[in-house]
């Protein structure tokens, strides 16, 4: 303790102040820089139900929708998979870039330039919201060549491997794990 005080005493106050201010600056820049480029891998799974909701024997019982979010440096990949009874019926894979990351609101801004749709044509028709999503993304990509939306990390609990994300403007909410 005494040694530390003696060592500090060798510096002038303005030098100590300068070191402190510079240190805080480096820490803040380092933290934000490391976070904005940090890779993110999320696996989200949702049970999907269609009307009639009261009919437990309906085919909607085992429908599922999963989402994988992969952010690596400035690249982003979103993969939606729609399945029924453990069989994958359709998947949509979006790829693009991370335009921005706002650390205050924990929001990623994605610019997606490519969408690949895979469907099992022998299967029944896709549910309407999924079909609408495909249609919307197709129109946006054809008209503008890119599709922008935000993904906000609403809640994160690393200890329990829980991340809650919200997409805008669609407003969809997902609870995800990173494993």
């Amino acid at each position: 303790m005494n040694n530390t005080i003696l060592a500090l005493g060798r510096f002038k106050p303005w030098q100590l102040l300068l070191i402190f201010v510079s240190g805080v600056g480096i820490l803040v820049f380092g933290y934000t820089a490391s976070f904005s480029h940090k890779s993110l891998n999320l696996n989200c799974l949702a049970q999907l139900y269609q009307p009639p909701f009261g009919d437990a024997t309906s085919s909607s019982l085992h429908h599922s929708l999963s989402l994988t979010v992969e952010v690596q440096d400035k690249k982003v990949n979103l993969n939606y998979r729609y399945g029924s009874n453990d069989k994958e019926l359709a998947s949509i894979n979006y790829s693009g870039v991370v335009k921005n990351f706002d650390i205050g609101s924990m929001t990623y801004q994605f610019g997606l330039a490519q969408a690949n749709v895979q469907m099992d044509l022998l299967q029944i028709e896709l549910p309407e919201p999924i079909r609408d999503d495909v249609q919307r993304s197709r129109e946006a990509l054809m008209a503008l060549g890119t599709m922008s939306f935000n993904m906000q990390i609403v809640d994160i609990n690393r200890l329990d491997d829980y991340t809650l994300i919200k997409f805008t403007p669609s407003g969809n909410l997902w609870a995800c794990s990173s494993r």
């Binding site: 303005w14 600056g25 989200c44 949702a46 999907l48 909701f53 706002d102 309407e128 919201p129 906000q152």
Partner: protein, 248 residues
Amino acid sequence: MQIGDCWFDAHEHLLVDASGCRWILSVDEFQVLSVLAKNQGKVVSRFELIQLLSSYDKDSLRCDDQLDDVIKRIRTILGKKPYSLLDTVRGEGFILYPSQASMRYKLLSSPTSQINSLQFLFIILVSLMTLYGINMHISHPTVIAPNYRQQIMMHNGSSSEIKFYTGQHYEANMKLFVKQMIGQMEACAVSPWQSIAANVSTDRKLISFILRNNRENGLKFQTVKLMSDNFIADTSQPDWLILSGICS
């Protein structure tokens, strides 16, 4: 000789302070103050001052402390803000000013040393750059407040908190759906989930339920999504709560 508010009488070995009190200086104090006064505005090295001490030849090892004691006593006599009159120049020695430093220097002074304008401007510049950097990278956190929140007591005594995020347009249809669901939840025998967050998509065709439960072995969660064009009609019967696992 005037030193600040004091008068240094070299003939009588006296220092008269602002109140008129006459301080008789010891031999060491007189020698040190005389040399500092002769070199006003200049730095006098510690070594030069130590050589003036009467004990220098006998015990040179203790002279450092002795010099500090002498300086301390002179500063005590000099009165208020003695550092602006008799200052330490770290690593070099001491400097005596004929009068108190100007306001500009007082602002930049510390108890042990001063900084010049260039150093001061440099610190201000670095501070401003740091603040600008922080401001650029940290914006105000976004708080998402639920449009509707309620704690529901179950029949078995457990409780569940339900939060609805319906978006900006909390329209009549959504109010009706929320009211209907709360009523059905209250009639629910047991809910295995401690927290239920419900979110409605912008096109009103998809409702997401985030079901959470904190257990001893960690957090358990599940996402349930309902697709419908008419939620009020499609969820009029409470069976959907059991189907989706919200109630058991």
